[in-house]
């Protein structure tokens, strides 16, 4: 099965993309992810100015779920310039040590205006896509409800970013923690969004230490990821695909562990597959493993090209109702 696709003019050798938030701090890390077979990488959320995260414990997990409240730490635009600049020097077809795969720069800000300013600065570094994090559930104490929880706010951020992004496609990263993710996606489309990343972490959730009776995370609550959230991600992808008529690419992320999970995301409507927490369960080689498992599934099912799978569930449903 052919795994490569060209999405909004950018060629991905395979659909797996490092999801934002983990491993995405340095060019060295990004290259290591690429060496492990990822088709693309997403940076950790980039701020215009330095932003401190939360104290530890920030990441805890069981076999079913991971809770994180890292709190979106970042050193600010200077570091982004250095690391992205370093990474973009690597030729796409160069030696493995420095090979680069498409870079998705994830940005975050505290106000609509600052989203625009951040996007303008990051766009100068010419990443392949911009991904706009309006959905982190770990900084509510600091900033209130995420922008992704309101169609009005999500739309305003999309407009601000689109007004400065030039030709770089803009993906809006949506929250599953809303009543109607489809209507929020539709509002972002009206504001000019080029694609979506679905979903950010679920919850937030909480874990309590029994003896001390205290929450384990220093932030008390944290976004939930890992295998347990996969069904929520699949449903959200399907909702966004339906609400946007399947016209915009979706980076489906949330709980993918295996190639079959990835196929399920494609059938729900994803074009690319974000993998993050799975690194903690299957190691960095998870990108290569998922691709091998997808290809094996495609061979067994006689599917020649990955693009034939995208939105397959919607087609199957509509053919039944005819």
């Amino acid at each position: 099965m052919n795994l490569s696709q060209t999405v909004l003019g950018v060629t991905f050798q395979n659909p797996t993309v490092l999801a934002s938030g983990i491993w995405g701090i340095t060019a060295s890390s990004w290259r290591r992810v690429a060496q492990n077979g990822a088709g693309g990488i997403t940076t950790k959320s980039l701020w215009l100015s330095e932003h401190k995260g939360h104290p530890n414990p920030t990441i805890i997990s069981t076999e079913h779920w991971t809770l994180n409240a890292v709190g979106v730490p970042d050193a600010g635009i200077e570091k982004a310039r250095e690391e992205i600049g370093d990474y973009m020097k690597g030729p796409a077809g160069g030696p493995e040590r420095i090979r680069r795969v498409p870079l998705i720069a994830n940005i975050i800000a505290n106000t609509v205006e600052n989203y625009g300013k951040t996007a303008a600065e990051i766009a100068k570094l010419q990443p392949d896509f911009l991904e706009v994090n309006i959905s982190c559930p770990n900084v509510e104490d600091e900033f209130g409800k995420p922008f992704a929880c309101s169609a009005h706010d999500a739309s305003a951020v999309t407009k601000a970013v689109k007004s400065v992004s030039g030709k770089i496609p803009v993906f809006i990263k949506l929250s599953p923690n809303v009543d109607d993710i489809g209507s929020i996606a539709a509002a972002c489309v009206d504001a000019g969004a080029d694609g979506f990343t679905v979903i950010n972490t679920v919850g937030p959730g909480m874990a309590i230490d029994l003896k001390s009776r205290l929450p384990i995370l220093a932030n008390k609550v944290g976004g939930m990821s890992g295998p347990a959230i996969k069904p929520i991600a699949v449903r959200c992808i399907a909702d966004v695909y339906r609400a946007t008529g399947g016209k915009l690419p979706i980076i489906g992320t949330g709980g993918i562990m295996t190639g079959e999970d990835a196929i399920e995301f494609l059938l729900a409507g994803a074009t690319l597959i974000g993998i993050g927490t799975a690194i903690g369960y299957r190691g960095a080689e998870v990108f290569r493993l998922v691709c091998e498992e997808m290809a094996a599934w495609g061979e067994a099912e006689g599917v020649q090209d990955i693009s034939k799978l995208i939105g397959g569930m919607h087609q199957a449903l509509s053919s039944r109702s005819l």
Partner: protein
């Protein structure tokens, strides 16, 4: 799915005993084994506060110990805890020191690096290794684990202090240099003059760099424990990834062989904080 992830939530244990090692250094003992090996680390959680990585000072299958210097906010709070208080432990994580039976190991310990070095010595002694322990500190009152090392079978102890208040005046690396140049080996060990098979080191990074250079020059195998800012401890967050390889020190380290250490571009030069910002050593 088997992920070996049973150690990723902290479990709280009561402190079984507290031993004051020096004015600012204490050892906590917990009546639990996490199956840690010398050089591995655990995440130590002070409930309601912070969680920090610490090398395991001992895990003998029945009890676990941590030895820490009350230098930062969290270690100062930890230092105020008493027997019976709760501390969360998560791990063990990372790589560990490795040796073969009957090898001659030179252990270079700087500051509270003495704790994991003593753990390595204890376990290696069980494999009939000959051990030359070289413990260094700023001054006499900061020296750790001297009695413990002295009590181990097959172990010769050398001491260095920056100010000369005990042992050699200067660095522990000076003593290692003498040993590798085989000038004083017989004198200090008092036994055989067999060459050192491996050098283990734990301590400040400048000391590690000096050990690395020395072992490289003398073509002696060496394993070093590199400390980087840790969050998850199990290879997920990427905060401890080093330039330029992107290796994560929580899973590919903290104990690395010298050839690996020497390929780490930032080794001996800089490290990154929790924001990913570089700080020179």
């Amino acid at each position: 799915m088997t992920c070996g992830c049973g150690n990723r939530l902290p479990i709280t244990y009561r402190i079984a005993s507290v031993k004051k090692e020096t004015e600012h250094v204490q050892t906590f003992t917990f009546a639990v084994s996490l199956g840690a090996k010398p050089g591995q680390f655990i995440m130590v959680w002070l409930p309601g506060s912070d969680e920090i990585p610490m090398s395991v000072a001992l895990d003998d299958g029945k009890k676990l110990q941590i030895t820490f210097f009350a230098v930062g906010d969290t270690t100062k709070k930890l230092a105020s805890l008493k027997k019976g208080d709760l501390v969360g432990l998560r791990g063990p994580f990372g790589t560990h020191y490795e040796w073969k039976p009957k090898q001659h190991l030179a252990l270079v310990a700087g500051g509270y690096g003495a704790a994991p070095m003593f753990f390595a010595a204890t376990e290696a002694a069980k494999d009939s290794c000959t051990i030359t322990a070289i413990v260094g500190a700023r001054s006499k009152e900061h020296l750790l684990y001297l009695d413990a090392f002295s009590g181990l079978p097959g172990t010769t102890l050398s001491v260095a202090t920056d100010d000369g208040s005990q042992g050699h005046k200067g660095y522990n690396v000076d003593i290692l240099r003498d040993i590798l140049e085989a000038k004083t080996l017989q004198l200090r060990s008092g036994s055989t003059a067999r060459a050192v098979d491996q050098v283990f080191a734990c301590g400040p990074e400048k000391m590690l760099l000096a050990v690395s250079d020395l072992c490289f020059q003398h073509k002696v195998a060496c394993q070093l424990s590199l400390e980087r800012y840790m969050k998850c401890g199990y290879g997920l967050c990427g905060n401890c990834a080093v330039d330029a390889s992107g290796m994560r020190m929580c899973t590919d380290g903290p104990v690395v062989k010298n050839d690996v250490a020497r390929e780490i571009m930032e080794f001996g030069k800089y490290h990154r904080d929790g924001l990913g910002k570089k700080h020179p050593l």
